[in-house]
Amino acid sequence: MAKNRNVGIIGIGQTVHSSHREEVNQPEMIHEAVELALKDAGMTMADVDCIVHGNMELFEMIHQPDMWHVIGDGAVGKPGLRITTGGTTGATLVCAADTLVASGMHDVVMAIGFEKLQEGHTTGGITNMADPLWGRELQTGALTGMTADAMIEEFGEERAKYAAMKHRLIMDQHAMLNPNAHRRFGFVEEMLPAMIANTPPLVGELRIVHMCSQSDGACAMIFASEKVVKKRKAKAAWVKDHVTVHREETFNLFGNVEEITTMRYAAQKLYERNGITDPRKQIDVFEMYDPSSWWGLDWIREFLMLEGDEHLKMVEKGEIGINGKFPINPSGGVVATNPIGATAMVRVAEAAMQIRGTAGAHQVKKPVKLALASGFGGTLWTVLVLLSKKRPKLAEK
């Protein structure tokens, strides 16, 4: 089992993500992203063979929204597919688009992820994922303080809280450089002690400032076969590999320790398949799906397969900053911008922008040859995508 054909990302479009997009309806908002992606690729809709679409429908309560959205995404008269996998949807759509092009069934596939969270209730919508018979009364969307508790127990309250807030700070500093980001506060280091002391709690030690945005936004990406990339002399970010790892229906975490998180498992597989033995050295930038500062902090250890307090040190020393040794989320990440059906795709889009050198003010300065992007959702699932600047060498048949 080895990929048959190379697939390059040659067009990226994102709306400005915001909580105030009342001036557009869903297909209009998607249309913005589609137009931007086509413009970026120097293409028109006629060049696109297939559209893959996804979101989390219970937020907006639209059944089969891709039907209505054909009036905005150009799918009329074309093939298409709709895949929805919760928070990981955007990244799953990337995998699907990549697969469809690699199969040879289509040469150019556009993937579209979107959400209009202001049209529903985010936490209520996520709570709806729980089993109606036993979990739905209890779940509070994606909000939990258990990771914070676990980290406080492992590293001590002061150190853990400071590291989480430092992570938050760095993400905001990055968001300030990203004109598409939703929430851009302008936090500075001096504010941290007051923020730690005063931010209102949501659940346990998970405080409002730690938690991701609830955004309206859309992202569209154009995936092309090697033949098309060559013919158009397009600037491509190549899809090198991807891994998707789901886990059982329950959360069963914390206090019920898993053998291994899906993040670490996905990383293990991906690194092994791609000859990555030292991810911090070999990977140039990581767009991680960080639904909260606590998770964003905790999962550095999982994705980079570290032990002990290595990950805390990375954050404390600012190594994950945009000019640091291992930049994480130069876009500002999910904590700054979260249009859920698009979010995981935005991670891949931002990673692709870093490779193509089109990230503008939030471009990392060092050359980017390999970029990693993660998606998160469901009962702690992971989708991990590896992009490369160099066209991948396909395995011999």
């Binding site: 059944h63 039907m67 469809l100 469901g378």
Partner: protein, 382 residues
């Protein structure tokens, strides 16, 4: 680079009006157990099932991320699972691409839907319409079908009496389908006397409310031969969207289905439908008028000739929906996947009383959305 993909196993639960005694997980488990038994596959990291494609709908399930409920029973713990939230024939199209891409050699598809769970399946489809215009005017998939039915019947010369005969035939054919339960035979008079739901669609002309699950194992050529001695090759797949607002569409026409069929036929190396080229057809007739309408779109007869095709016995002659079709009762979301399953059983020689002797090639079709807005066509060969 000529990879091929084959269906190696087919599994279905029974289709019933109300599977109150099982929840989604229970239905899925039945399907998975049958598939594992048929192929001897496990879920091991090296040669087991690592890629699952599920089919379900969040609004029908009343559950966000409806596939998270199915993770356990489809064996997706620490494996890859992706949910297609459209008619299951789309999952076949996607699974084909997974095999052809080289990424995986084995894919398991498991789809489920319980139309009995929401107070009305039409309340669910009502939500497919935009909140500002088409929803407030009262559209749902039934009303949309009614509008299409009237336009189509006028154009193709299809009569109400012919619709009644289609229903009678479907139920008679379904009597030989071991998966169809509690579907009484009806007379044409009973059909014509049944309550009017959305003119011209009467109650008995609509597919009945149904619960069920269905699954397939699809594998690459090298694995297929170890999993089954009767592989059914997926030689063509195509799909195509029509426009959304009913007024923007040629409601009586089948342009998008013709487009989807053309793609599938081209990929399969056939120019068009022909009785010699295709031994049987499984199409998703959610409502009786769709039998001749989708037949036109697939090329079984010319445009506007549906009525004439029915009159000369087209469905029997061309071996369409020999086990009852969707009219006999499959839930929305699964119609097209069941069509693929039934066609595959034919090509494996396992269709029992309805077996077409020596069947070599079949066409299966699925629909998603209002009035067939998204059409999917799959070509199978043994």
């Amino acid at each position: 680079m000529s990879r091929r993909a084959a269906i190696c196993a087919v599994a279905q639960t029974s289709y019933e009006r109300d599977k109150w005694y099982l929840r989604q997980q229970g239905m899925g488990m039945e399907v998975v157990e049958q598939l594992i038994k048929a192929t001897g596959l496990d879920f091991s990291e090296d040669r087991g099932i690592k890629q699952m494609v599920t089919v379900s709908d969040d609004l029908f399930d009343g559950r966000t991320i409806s596939d998270s409920a199915m993770t356990d029973v489809v064996g997706a713990h620490y494996r890859c699972e992706e949910k297609v939230s459209q008619d299951g024939a789309q999952a076949v199209y996607y699974a084909l691409s997974i095999i052809l891409s080289g990424y995986e050699d084995v894919v398991m598809i498991v789809g489920h839907c319980k139309e009995s769970q929401p107070s009305s399946r039409y309340l669910v489809s009502h939500m497919a319409f935009d909140p500002f215009f088409t929803r407030p005017v009262g559209l749902d998939y039934l009303a949309a079908a009614g509008l299409q039915a009237r336009a189509y019947m006028n154009q193709a010369g299809v009569t109400e009496a012919q619709l009644a005969d289609i229903v009678v035939r479907a139920r008679r054919n379904a009597a030989d389908n071991p998966k169809i339960k509690d579907l009484p035979a009806v007379t044409a008079q009973q059909v014509l006397a049944s309550p009017m739901w959305a003119d011209p669609i009467r109650q008995l002309m609509a597919y009945p409310v149904t619960d069920g699950a269905v699954g397939l194992i699809i594998a690459s050529e090298e694995r297929a031969h170890e999993l089954t001695d009767k592989p059914v090759w997926i030689t063509g797949a195509g799909n195509c969207y029509d426009d959304f607002f009913l007024g923007d569409r040629d409601l009586a026409g089948t342009a998008n289905l013709q487009n989807a069929a053309a793609r599938a036929y081209r990929m399969a190396g056939i120019k068009k439908y022909g009785k010699k080229a295709v031994d049987l057809v499984e199409l998703s007739d959610q409502y009786a008028y769709q039998l001749p309408m989708w037949a036109e779109g697939l090329g079984l007869c010319g445009a506007g000739e549906g009525g004439a095709w029915l009159a000369r016995g087209g469905p029997d002659k061309m071996r369409v929906n020999l086990t009852g079709g969707m009219l006999a009762g499959n839930p929305m979301m699964l119609g097209g996947l069941v069509r693929v399953a039934e066609a595959a059983l034919q090509l494996r020689g396992e269709a029992g009383a309805k077996q077409v002797p020596g069947a070599k090639r079949a066409v299966a079709q699925g629909v998603t959305g209002p009035a067939g807005q998204l059409q999917t066509v799959v070509v199978l060969e043994n």
